[in-house]
């Protein structure tokens, strides 16, 4: 069995799909890497829900500013053309449909686009942050999974989510280490598949029925 795409390769594949000029919110963790992989000449403006448009990379060690952080509370920078604003404005941008793409992680995604990414069984205190606002408000919601299946091998793309929902029928596209999958009114449609992985092998790792695009693109292995 071949190794799947690295997190950076998944991020690069997602970055390829961001339109020039898009306003994009990147979730904490792996989605943040998308900003590092934008194709040359493509300008996207990164939104951080704690009140920043034009978020840039982490500053050099020693140049961090405690007043300038991202939604993950990490030091960041601000790019030319950026803006600061308060929380109600920030979520007006989100809920009001001004954010073109929200890219988040997930515990489970269902074939109808249901997303579960905020609560695990047995967690001590719940914490939701901005995820429910993002999936309800962004024009497009993309999910990134570092691994197509969970650590125990169980599918994370399923017919119905078993974990508490972040939002119903909100996911438009899924990027994993093996495939790119569109969520359509007719169910899941695989558009990209890792070289060396068969359609049957992908279906076996997925808890919902997959269809495969006629012009299936093969993703090169590293």
């Amino acid at each position: 069995m071949s190794a799947g795409l690295s997190p950076d390769a998944i991020a690069a594949r997602a970055a390829e799909d961001l339109p020039d000029g898009a306003y994009v919110n990147l979730g904490i963790g792996m989605p943040m890497r998308v900003a590092e992989h934008l194709p040359a000449g493509r300008e996207c403006i990164m939104h951080s829900e704690n009140g920043l448009l034009g978020m840039g990379p982490a500053p050099a060690p020693g140049a961090e500013d405690p007043d300038l952080i991202n939604a993950g509370k990490q030091p960041v920078s601000v790019l030319p053309g950026g803006a600061f604003f308060h929380h109600a404005d920030s979520f007006a941008m989100i809920r009001g449909g001004h954010i073109d793409v929200s890219i988040l992680g997930a515990y489970e995604v269902a074939a109808n686009g249901d997303l579960a990414n905020w609560a695990l069984p047995g967690a001590k205190a719940p914490a939701v942050g901005g995820a429910m606002d993002l999936v309800a408000g962004a024009k497009q919601v993309w999910v990134m999974l570092a691994a197509h299946v969970g650590k125990d091998g169980a599918p994370r793309i399923v017919e119905r989510c078993t974990l508490p929902l972040t939002g119903p029928a909100c996911v438009n596209r899924i990027y994993t280490d093996l495939a790119v999958i569109d969520v359509t009114p007719d169910g899941l449609l695989v558009t990209d598949l890792l070289e060396g992985t068969s359609e049957e092998a992908l279906q076996a790792k997925t808890g919902a029925r997959l269809r495969f695009a006629p012009a299936l693109r093969r993703l090169p292995q590293a």
């Binding site: 952080i69 600061f84 929380h87 109600a88 205190a125 942050g129 901005g130 408000g137 508490p164």
Partner: protein
């Protein structure tokens, strides 16, 4: 002559009828940015009881909000992301069953406070529809989409942190330390601002929080 500047932190908190047992206290900040740490630590010395805290996070380490939680003054917290790296004071109280927690999506929290400051008693939002955070709440359909009714939040007191302020209470903020500060300033009976630096006059074009929303200020240097 109007002058909302107080000589010291103790003076700014003294003889404040809204700061009492059972008060609802809005606490601004996101992560460690824009948190009114000096005011929080002074409030923790007042021996208050049964406070309700409204805040995005629930403090980290032993400073600021964490210190107020440790003081035993808080019985309830309304929060979007209470559990995070270093939220030991919160976890100790919550795990011991000594703290009621209401988890609110971050954008809904911001909008509930905005509504409170704007005289709007309730509103409908798409956020959290179809999730357990909407359980028991009124749902209505507008133009084919479902929305959840959320109630406004008002505080007896708001504790905020600003970068500069003048004697009229006009305030500016620093970068992403703005976050919940301008929103919370509008939504309390008494808004108390700790200000990094007093200035003679904030230029009217650059005022972020107009002084009408601010009752008391103290210069803290940080």
């Amino acid at each position: 002559m109007i002058d909302k500047r107080y000589r010291g932190v103790a003076e700014a908190l003294a003889h404040c009828p809204d700061l009492r047992d059972g008060a609802v206290v809005l606490v601004a900040g996101f992560g460690d940015a824009g948190v009114p740490v000096v005011l929080l630590e002074a409030v923790s010395e007042l021996g208050l009881r049964n406070l309700t805290i409204v805040s995005n996070n629930a403090g980290s380490g032993e400073q600021g909000l964490a210190k107020l939680l440790r003081s035993g003054s808080v019985s309830r917290i309304v929060c979007s992301f209470p559990r995070s790296a270093g939220s030991v004071a919160f976890e100790a109280l919550y795990d011991a069953g000594r703290l009621d927690l209401e988890v609110v999506p971050q954008g809904t929290l911001a909008e509930r406070i905005r509504a409170g400051g704007a005289g709007i008693p309730a509103f409908f939002t798409p956020t959290a529809y179809g999730t357990e955070l909407a359980a028991g709440k009124e749902v209505r359909e507008f133009e084919g989409r479902h929305y959840v009714m959320e109630r406004a939040i008002r505080g007896d007191v708001a504790l905020i942190h600003a970068a500069t302020g003048d004697r009229w209470g006009n305030l500016t903020y620093a970068k992403t330390a703005r976050n919940f500060n301008p929103v919370m300033a509008t939504a309390a009976s008494t808004t108390i601002a700790e200000v990094r630096r007093f200035v003679d006059e904030v230029p009217p074009e650059t005022v972020v929080t107009p002084g009408i929303f601010v009752q008391r200020m103290v210069e803290v240097g940080v």
